[in-house]
Symmetry: C7
Subunit: 78 residues, 7 copies
């Protein structure tokens, strides 16, 4: 296992993003963005000040959300 193929590929980028805004794309095409409060080994994440993207491209406030990792396709620091 080289330095680039480590178990923490996913976790390293999440650790660097704690307290930062992230954009999360879910299965089915929805997006949610918010401030990354915490995450766990299943890639479950908790966002504060979260908003979800509506069909018309606007964003609706959700507040704090727990997102189950299994439904996440992409996580992107903003």
């Amino acid at each position: 296992m080289s330095a680039n193929q480590t178990p923490d590929t996913a976790h390293k980028i999440l650790a660097e993003s704690l307290g930062q805004m992230v954009l999360i794309k879910l299965r089915g095409g929805k997006s949610i963005r918010g401030r990354l409060r915490s995450y766990d080994m299943h890639l479950n994440v908790v966002l504060d000040n979260a908003e979800e993207e509506m069909n018309d491209g606007s964003w609706r406030k959700l507040g704090t959300v727990l997102i189950r990792g299994e439904n996440i396709v992409v996580i992107s620091p903003m």
Copy 2:
């Protein structure tokens, strides 16, 4: 494992929400809201006074519901 990457990311926010209203988004796009009575390690949750969102945006009473964790995308304290 840092303080922010703990196994209880999901569980901590649920513990804080016991007895409170939560909004749950399910796979397929449906939403259910209600008072969080209990949950388990699979993120199965039981809500009291639950209501489901109808296609016209209204809410229909369901009473007490058990939701299987596997179908949950997002849990949000209201």
Copy 3:
């Protein structure tokens, strides 16, 4: 693990519903209701006097049914 975060969240509400009418929502949007005869650790359930909801909102008799837990989204005592 607190009193509210126990392995039997799902099972407790099922145990209380034995012999009672329950409404079960399945993946894909179908609903089945009937009298809860038994269940197991996979949330497989057996209902007596079961009926399934038709597209026009009416209910069609199915008799006794075994529903595989994996397909269940919500179980609600009626």
Copy 4:
């Protein structure tokens, strides 16, 4: 584990149905009916004289079929 919450919830109703006609609803909405010849712990089932429901509501003969348990939503003795 009470008498009603046993590992064989699913298997008991199948054992009682051996040699009987059963209706099986599959993921995706299709139905198959036939005489239950055997089943296993994964809920794989073998039906004899099986027929599948067509879109127009008629039934087409399939003969003997093996159905993988993973695709089964509901099994109902007829």
Copy 5:
């Protein structure tokens, strides 16, 4: 475990069908038929002289195919 509830429910009917024509229905509704050459414990199967059903009801030659068991809904000896 009775004589009818054995681990080989699925495998017995496959063993009987070796060298015979089988019809296989896949998730998503497609069908493939061919001569059963071999199978394994995951219900992966290899068919010779396989054909797939087209939307217009005709059959297109595929030759030898390996079908992953996970995608199989129904196997039926022809």
Copy 6:
């Protein structure tokens, strides 16, 4: 376990196809064809000179591709 029901049903046909052209059908209906360079126990495969089938029936060059086994429905030597 008979000679025909062996763990390598899938692997045997892949071993015979190394360096040969194969057609791979993916979940969701897409097809990719190319020269089989290697595969592993999860049925992940690497193809060289791969092309994907477009909606109009033409083929678009992809070059070398890694296909995750989980998404493969059918592998067919060409």
Copy 7:
């Protein structure tokens, strides 16, 4: 296990692509391309300078993204 059927089929092609542009096709049909920064044993990958393909065929900048391996169908060095 022959030289061509090794556990690292997937990982070898990823190791060769570190620092290179790759095209990733996701379940549901979306594509993302970017420079491969790292990956892990679950095929989770991190891309820098990532872009996603829009419905009109154009590409929208995403920056750095973590893609969960489970949602990946095809990875192709560009």
